[in-house]
Amino acid sequence: MLNNLITIAALVSWFIIAPEAALAPAGAKPSRTTAAPQRAGPAHQETASRPPTLTALDYAEIQMLYGRSHIDFDSGAERGRAFARTFTPDGVFVAQGGAAVTGHQQLAALAARNASCLQTWLTNLMIEPSAEGAIGWAYVWQIELACGSRSAVAEPGAKSPVREGGTYRDVIVKTADGWRFKRRSYTPGHTVSKDEKLPA
């Protein structure tokens, strides 16, 4: 479902928003951004000789970013713009096998389709410091509740509200507005892609 949404949103955006930013066809490598987001000074403690670290407040604020991102995604608030703001202006969201969704307009279009149901459940958030800011690993479940067309798993033959499970690997940076996603990679299933760098 998430893959479909992303593909649809990307195609729509290709025609109506930013054809010059139109993205590679499904299965292509994710586009790489070139413009660095505005930094608000050192987001984390880092020196040439010491590995990067995060403060307790960094961990807490990043956790809040995740929660806000999913609540805003599910609600489609402000026609998806609330969700888009959890990314940097040049932020990228790419699902394995799908086209990348890049920038606030496309990200907003992705979330604007959702309304009034709980569907995105984040678990197992693991945050690690990185040279760029932080890397976030998390599981995401698509469990649709009260969307009007799903049924519970209790009865034999009933459809499960659980649609899909997968893993996020996020590059997170600290901007003047706080922590934001710079790049989100989604891999459905339980196996981390061999293309992803494993946690340090």
Binding site: T55, Y59, M126, S160, V162, G165, G189, V192
Partner: protein, 328 residues
Amino acid sequence: MLTPMRSSIALGGVVLLLQPAATTQAPAPPATLTVLDYAEIKTVVGRYNLGWDNTARLDNGAQVAKAFTTDAIFYSPAPEPWLGSAGIAAQAAKAKPGISHWVSNLIIDPAPDGGATSWSSLLLTNVADGGRPVAFTGGGILHEAFAKTPDGWRLKYRRYEPVGRTPTPNWPKAEQGLFVPAPDPNERPRAGRLTSSDYIAIEQLYIRNNIGLDSNAEEGQRFAQTFTPDGVMVSEDGRDRTEGRMLAQVPQTVLKEPALHTWMTNLTIDSSREGAIGHADILNAHLVPGPNARHTITGGRRYTDVLVKTREGWRFKKRTYKAYAAAP
């Protein structure tokens, strides 16, 4: 002949030998944890899950090994405990693919030995490669202990109690989840903004609230105690309203009997003029003991909460909830 320094050391040793009682009776420093300890311990939990579920077949269990001390002990449902980081990593490397751990309601407390203990609820799923289908395969309670090593926090003890293993769930004790670490001394105060200590205290409050609901402990009082004395819980449409002392009745009206029921996610906390505003999404599951049991998702709730900081700590002043059904 002893140098002055050696003489002092020798004299000190004699004094120590002559006063063993004074040494052993010295009060131990109070157990404590910093805000960063909380964050790093949560990272260890995440590393274990990610390592077991996602990377063990790529890295031969290396991530899992990094989550444990070399002498760790893990009581899984297997007949014999798994021993040491290497032994546990070996189990991870040969585990059946598809398992995913959803750990929720993680409460962390300082331990007298300088480490930490935790209690959490676990929901186990099986996810096919490609993301679907997803099946809920079980769940239970995790009891864990952590040690701070030169390489950072590590699990030194882990015991998993699947649903049905004990006659009733081993709920946390009343004093668990109450410790609030002091703010990071290097954290710059920000007017009208929450500190890392506030975030942790509020998160732990949510968790105590969830566990209080699931356990109906002390006839609902532990749930009620997460609210101010004049606290209110009201449905979004305003039809259902419970306040004050009546909040203790909520758990028994929600659940027929105490059970692991509440899994929380998407917690967000923002500062407000009154204190803080919190949002959280709750997934309600019904877990059934035994192999091949049919577990069900029974619904969910979204909480929107007004929180205030009282002399006893953060409390819910008003909770507005919207219930979502899993059925059509």
